[in-house]
Structure formats: structure tokens, C-alpha cells
């Protein structure tokens, strides 16, 4: 096929027409020469077939024109030679010319057909080549796309360690553009530059490497962990020309793995350092893990059957909760070992393994000592309960006794007082001054006795936590004013002035009656312990979320030691004072009880010989309802 056109190239194509023209010219010269010079009419016209056939082969049907030309020329020369007369020779020439024409036609036709088929084949071949080239280009584009769009880094490094190819993924991961690194050494990318040689050596020796982990440095100086797979690239002759490397950034994975490992190590440490026994058995009772406490006892039985290890049995233990745990339940139970005389608290939990199987995690704790202690505590509690019940009973009886006693004491006091008052008020006739004075003394002491009985009853209720308060909105200033009005005559009798400085106060929730009792007690004390013709200052004000009451006297004052026991029952500092000043010594203890029942505070500041100031404060907003009132601190 290759040689089907001897004049495939254009220079030779030009020679074709030259040769043909030369052949035609030669034939013309030969015709003229033979006919006119030699004067012969011989069969030389065979030479004419040369240009005719050549033209047929080279120019196909155009050969007909050559044949016509040569035939016509030959006929013309014989016609001229015969002196322009039509003879036999001329006729023969015409016949030959026709033969030329036929030959030219046949050769031209055959050659033309042949050339046509050749052209067709050529066309087909060219088409095939075009198609396969297109396919090749598509495949190459496809592969390029894959390489370029991969987030993994794909690089080609030649045998000298020079980067030859660098995909988009590599640009993203490493921060270098391809045009910056192609043609440069790959050493600078490794945290340890020797790593470049080691990888090259490995790949050359093994032909490929897989999942090789190393640290590379990005353009911004940050080190990242990668895993690399590489293979040798060879040329047609099988000579290595470089390596192709695919790497992936696994920094996050490495960090994650490290964290998981650290957590696992911690967990292990926890298990190992636990004083409780910890072990894990598989679905088929095989010991998978055992912590130190248990290993000390049982050696290292990993892989052995648990009932075999613990109890030397061939069958699972009768109490074992294995099957329940395998169903996904967490079981807590107590096991008492008669042989060891010990009690264990067991918590058994299912653990899901990665492969879908379930293992049983058991934590068991020796609670023998705790059990004993619990028992002891239980017994002690029982005793304590009984004691508390006794005490409660005693307190209740005390209160009951006191209330009964006070009733019994008051009963005879009632007619005594009534009769004396009748005497005093002149129901039984007019008395003289001495009689009247005597009755006044009796009545005064009767009053004191009554107060004492009331105070004792109050304090016993406070101590028993049974004081009853009826809370409602109230104004502290109103209570203060009422008390001052009541105490005014007593103060005047001693020549004492009560000065009140009452600030604007919000209403509070309190028991007005009880608070009057407290204020009355404090005012009464202040008057009692003031020097003659002194002043007592009563003040109220708001302090933050509290209302505060204060009362100052300029009397005898209280020493530090005395201040401490001031609010305790029967603590009137000097018993002789009771006689001098009257009072049961219970007033401040009762006051404290009442203030505390209102969620308030009561306290004193004093200097011996100069006077005292008593304070109490009560919160403005407090949520107290009638129901939770029977309380006292």
C-alpha cells in the first residue's frame, strides 16, 4: 500500500507531467522523423502506447485527450505525407488512432477506478485515526480532571528528587502553586529533609510504598501529618524515570487518634487504680479484661472461661446475671460468698463491641465492712430515734406541765385579784390611806406573779418550738407608737423622756401582738435601767431589705460577758436586779424567740456605765403563710 503512489510527494508529482510531455514530444518527433525523413510507414506507432498508458495511469480518463492528440497528429502526418489525399495508409492511421483512443480509455478507466477505491480506503483510515485520537484526548482530559479535582495531593517527582507535576490538591494542602514548585527539589517539603531521600530509596527498592506516614511543612510553616502511597514511573524501555505520589492530610485523624489513645489510657489507668474489681467477659463467657485488683488474685486469666476462673466450675454459676445483661439490661445485685464470709456489691452492664457483639462489664466492690457499719448505724439510729422520741415526749410533757401549772396558779390568783381590786375600788366601802397603800403593794406583786407565769409559759413554748404566730401585714411604727403610749406613764414616773424618731417604713409581714410584746419589753427595760431624768431614744428605719428598730438608753450599760448570756432564759444579770427592777429575766429570751420566728435578728451594743442600744431587724419581703407558723428557732 505504501508504494501505491510512486510520486507521493509534490516534487515528484511535477515530474509526472514533465515525463508525460517528454514522452508525447518524443512520439511526435518520432512520427515526423519516420514519416517525412525516413519516408517509411512502419509499425513504430507502438511507442505511442507509452504516453497513452502513462497518462492513463497518472491522469486517468484525461489519457483520452493524449490519445486523441497523438492519433490526430499521426493521421495528419500520413494525410500530409500522402499529399493531402485520402489513401489506405491514412485509413490505417485512423484505425490506429482509434486503437490509441480505446487503450487510453481502458487504461484511464481502470486506473481511475483503482485510484477511487484507494482514496476511499485512505479516507476511511484517516477517519479511524481521527476517532482514536479524539478518544485518547478524552481519556487524557478525564484523567487530568480526576487528578486536578482530587483533594489528595498527587505529585510526580523524578529520580533526582525534582518535582515534575503538582496537582490542585497539592496546592490546597501545601499552599504552593504548581508553577512555584515544578522544577525544584522536593526536600523542602519534609519536616525532616532526609525523609525525601529515604522515601525515594524505599520506592526504588520496593517498586511502591503504601500508607507511609510522615510530617510535611506547609508554605505557612505549619507542620501537617500525611499518609503517602507512591509507585515508580517507567519509560517504554522499563527504565525508572520518576515516582508518582498520592498523599492525604491526616492531621485531624492523628489528633483524634491521639486523643482517643489518651482517653483509653486514662480509662485504663482508672480501671487499674480502682480498688474495686473490674472485668469484662465476652458473650461466650471468655474473660477479655481484668484489672489489677483482680489480676493480683487470679493471675491473668484473659481468654479463659469466667466461671472456670472464679469458681472452678464447668457450667455457668446459678446466680450469674449473664443472660440478662446480654439482653441489654444493667443489673445491680449483691452477692454474699459464704466461703469467704464477704459481701460484694456487683454492677453488671452490657458493652457494645465494634463488631456488634456484646460483652459484660462487671464492677464489684467488697462491701462487707460497709454492711457491718450500716448495721451499726441502723442500730444507733434506732437508739437515737428512741432518745429523740423520749426527748420530744419530755419537752411535750414539760410544756403540758407548765401550762397546767400556770392554769392552776392563776385559778387562785383570780379571786384574790378580784377581791383586792373590789376593796381598792371601794366596792366594800371607803378605806383609809394606809389600807389603800397596803392593797396597792399586794396588787403590784400579784401583777408580777402573773407576768412571771405568762413569761414561763411563753419561754417553754419557744423552747418546745410551739410558739404560735399569726402573721399579717402590719406597720412596725404603729406598734412602736402604741407601746410608747402605754409606757409613757411609767417613764414619766421616773422623769424619763422617750424620744421617737420613726422613719417612713413599708409594711412588713409579722405578728403585731407579739412584736408589741417585744417592743414593750425593750422599752420597759430601757426605762428600768435608765438613770433618773434621762432620755430614751427609739428609732425605726429601713436598712436594705429589712426594717430596723433600735432603742438607746443612757443607763447602767452591760459588760461584754453579760451581753453574751443576755438573751438566755433567766439571765437577768444580777439576781438582785430582779428585786430592784422587777421582771422575770425571761423577757429578752422571749423577744429573741419571737424575732427569730419572724425571720429577724436581735442584738445589743453596750458600754458599761454609759448605756445600751438594742436592735432588731425584720425582712420586708418574706413568704410566710399562716400554715407554716408554728416554728421557733
Amino acid at each position: 500500500m505504501d508504494n501505491r503512489h510512486p510520486f507521493a510527494c509534490i516534487e515528484r508529482e511535477k515530474m509526472k507531467s514533465l515525463i508525460l510531455l517528454s514522452a508525447i514530444l518524443a512520439c511526435v518527433i518520432l512520427d515526423v522523423y519516420v514519416t517525412f525523413i525516413m519516408g517509411k510507414e512502419i509499425v513504430y506507432t507502438h511507442f505511442f502506447y507509452i504516453p497513452v498508458i502513462l497518462a492513463g495511469v497518472w491522469y486517468y480518463m484525461k489519457a483520452v485527450y493524449v490519445a486523441i492528440f497523438l492519433g490526430a497528429f499521426h493521421v495528419l502526418t500520413t494525410f500530409i505525407f500522402m499529399d493531402f489525399s485520402f489513401s489506405l495508409i491514412t485509413l490505417e492511421a485512423v484505425q490506429r488512432a482509434v486503437v490509441f483512443l480505446a487503450v487510453a480509455y481502458l487504461v484511464g478507466f481502470a486506473s481511475g477506478e483503482h485510484a477511487k477505491s484507494l482514496l476511499l480506503e485512505e479516507k476511511r483510515r484517516v477517519e479511524e485515526i481521527r476517532k482514536s485520537e479524539e478518544k485518547l484526548r478524552e481519556t487524557r482530559d478525564y484523567l487530568n480532571n480526576i487528578i486536578e479535582s482530587s483533594t489528595d495531593t498527587i505529585t510526580v517527582v523524578d529520580m533526582m528528587g525534582i518535582v515534575r507535576d503538582w496537582n490542585k490538591g497539592a496546592e490546597g494542602v501545601m499552599g504552593y502553586r504548581a508553577d512555584e514548585v515544578v522544577g525544584t527539589s522536593n526536600k523542602k517539603f519534609f519536616a525532616n529533609p532526609e525523609e525525601a531521600d529515604r522515601i525515594m530509596e524505599l520506592v526504588e527498592r520496593e517498586g511502591e510504598i503504601k500508607d507511609y506516614r510522615t510530617t510535611v511543612v506547609r508554605r505557612d510553616g505549619r507542620g501537617i501529618q500525611i499518609t503517602m502511597s507512591a509507585a515508580v514511573l517507567k519509560d517504554k524501555q522499563g527504565v525508572p524515570i520518576g515516582t508518582v505520589r498520592v498523599s492525604r492530610d491526616i492531621t485531624k485523624e492523628v489528633v483524634f487518634e491521639e486523643r482517643i489513645k489518651a482517653e483509653r489510657d486514662n480509662l485504663n489507668l482508672i480501671f487499674e487504680s480502682m480498688p474495686d474489681g473490674v472485668y469484662v467477659v465476652s458473650e461466650d463467657y471468655k474473660v477479655e479484661f481484668m484489672n489489677k485488683v483482680l489480676r493480683n488474685e487470679f493471675g491473668n486469666p484473659v481468654g479463659r472461661i469466667c466461671h472456670n476462673v472464679f469458681h472452678d466450675r464447668e457450667e455457668p454459676c446459678p446466680l450469674c446475671k449473664h443472660l440478662e445483661v446480654m439482653k441489654g439490661k444493667t443489673v445491680r445485685w449483691e452477692w454474699h460468698s459464704r466461703s469467704l464470709g464477704k459481701t460484694y456489691d456487683l454492677i453488671e452492664t452490657p458493652l457494645k463491641n465494634i463488631d456488634g457483639t456484646i460483652s459484660k462489664l462487671t464492677i464489684f466492690r467488697d462491701v462487707t465492712d460497709r454492711k457491718k457499719a450500716d448495721e451499726e448505724i441502723r442500730k444507733l439510729n434506732k437508739k437515737l430515734e428512741l432518745k429523740v422520741m423520749d426527748l420530744e415526749e419530755v419537752t411535750r410533757m414539760k410544756t403540758e406541765f407548765l401550762s397546767l401549772t400556770s392554769h392552776e396558779l392563776r385559778t387562785p390568783l383570780t379571786p384574790i385579784k378580784a377581791q383586792l381590786e373590789m376593796l381598792h375600788d371601794g366596792y366594800m366601802g371607803i378605806m383609809n390611806e394606809k389600807q389603800e397603800n397596803s392593797i396597792e403593794v399586794i396588787l403590784r406583786n400579784l401583777k408580777r406573779l402573773d407576768t412571771l407565769i405568762n413569761d414561763i409559759l411563753d419561754i417553754s413554748r419557744i423552747e418546745a418550738g410551739r410558739i404560735r404566730m399569726s402573721f399579717d401585714y402590719m406597720c412596725l411604727n404603729d406598734a412602736v407608737r402604741e407601746v410608747i403610749n402605754m409606757q409613757e406613764p411609767f417613764a414619766k414616773g421616773k422623769g424619763i423622756t422617750i424620744t421617737a424618731k420613726l422613719a417612713q417604713l413599708p409594711p412588713i409581714i409579722g405578728d403585731a401582738e407579739r412584736l408589741r410584746q417585744v417592743i414593750s419589753n425593750l422599752v420597759n427595760n430601757a426605762i428600768k435601767f435608765s438613770k433618773k431624768s434621762a432620755t430614751v431614744v427609739v428609732q425605726t428605719r429601713r436598712v436594705g431589705e429589712n426594717v430596723m428598730f433600735r432603742i438607746t438608753d443612757y443607763g447602767i450599760g452591760i459588760s461584754k460577758d453579760d451581753r453574751e448570756k443576755l438573751f438566755k432564759p433567766f439571765s437577768q444579770i444580777d439576781t438582785s436586779m430582779g428585786r430592784e427592777h422587777g421582771g422575770s429575766g425571761l423577757g429578752l429570751a422571749i423577744a429573741k424567740g419571737i424575732i427569730q420566728a419572724c425571720n429577724g435578728k436581735i442584738w445589743v451594743e453596750s458600754e458599761l456605765g454609759k448605756g445600751s442600744t438594742f436592735f432588731f431587724s425584720i425582712p420586708i419581703t418574706q413568704k410566710i403563710t399562716e400554715k407554716d407558723v408554728s416554728y421557733i428557732g
Binding site: 392554769h407 392563776r410 385559778t411 379571786p415 373590789m422 366596792y427 404560735r468
Partner: protein, 130 residues
């Protein structure tokens, strides 16, 4: 002053208290009826209906609470106002539920002062327009 004599019944198991209270009331122009316990009180109420009842708490025989509830149930006695006159602490009386009845209007603690007792009775009479 007063135009009609008011009647006060006094119930107390202590004869001396009974006597003293009656003396005070009579000296102040009240008509006093004495009863030494709950039963006697009920009995006397059959014959005479007082305006005010001075009632002790803690008496032998019929309990005070029971007595109050019987008076409350008797429509004839609906106008009587009851004042406790007792050595029991107010708080205990409240706890015992003695103030449940609407007829109970006041409380005088023993030992009472004559003035206070008279004032209370006068106040109750005035307030209830007896």
C-alpha cells in the same frame, strides 16, 4: 346610763371566782346568774336567757367546747354572746378550736382586772345592741 338591766350568766367551777364575779356584776347593776358547770348552765338556760355568758374553760363535767356547740345549735339561745373568762392561755384556746362559734366574741384572761372585765362586757353589749 342603762335603762334595762342586762343579765350576765357566769359559769365557773371555782366558787370564789363565781362569787367575786357576781359581786362585781351586781355592784355594777347587772343581773348575775351563777352556774358551777356546763350542765347547770344548760339547765338554767332552760328558764332564763342571759345577754352575755361569761364562760370558763377547763371545767369538770361537760366540756366547754361541747357546751358552746349545744348553745349554738339551740335557736332559742342564738342571741347570747359568749366571753371566755379563763386561766387558759389565749393561744391554747385558739388551738383547741374554741373560737369556732360566731357567738364567742371575746376572751378575758384570768387573773382578770375588774376594769377590763367590765369594759369588755359593756363593749359587747354596746356592739351587739343588746
Amino acid at each position: 346610763m342603762m335603762f334595762v338591766t342586762k343579765t350576765v350568766m357566769i359559769v365557773d367551777d371555782e366558787p370564789d371566782v363565781l362569787l367575786s364575779v357576781a359581786q362585781i356584776l351586781e355592784a355594777n347593776h347587772y343581773k348575775a346568774i351563777k352556774a358551777k358547770d356546763g350542765n347547770e348552765c344548760l339547765e338554767k338556760l332552760q328558764r332564763q336567757i342571759p345577754d352575755v355568758l361569761l364562760l370558763d374553760i377547763m371545767m369538770p363535767g361537760l366540756a366547754t367546747k361541747e357546751l358552746v356547740s349545744r348553745i349554738e345549735k339551740d335557736r332559742r339561745l342564738a342571741k347570747i354572746k359568749i366571753i371566755f373568762l379563763t386561766a387558759i392561755h389565749l393561744q391554747e384556746a385558739e388551738e383547741a378550736g374554741l373560737f369556732a362559734s360566731k357567738q364567742v366574741v371575746d376572751f378575758i384572761e384570768k387573773p382578770f382586772s375588774v376594769r377590763r372585765m367590765l369594759d369588755t362586757i359593756a363593749k359587747v353589749i354596746k356592739e351587739n345592741k343588746l
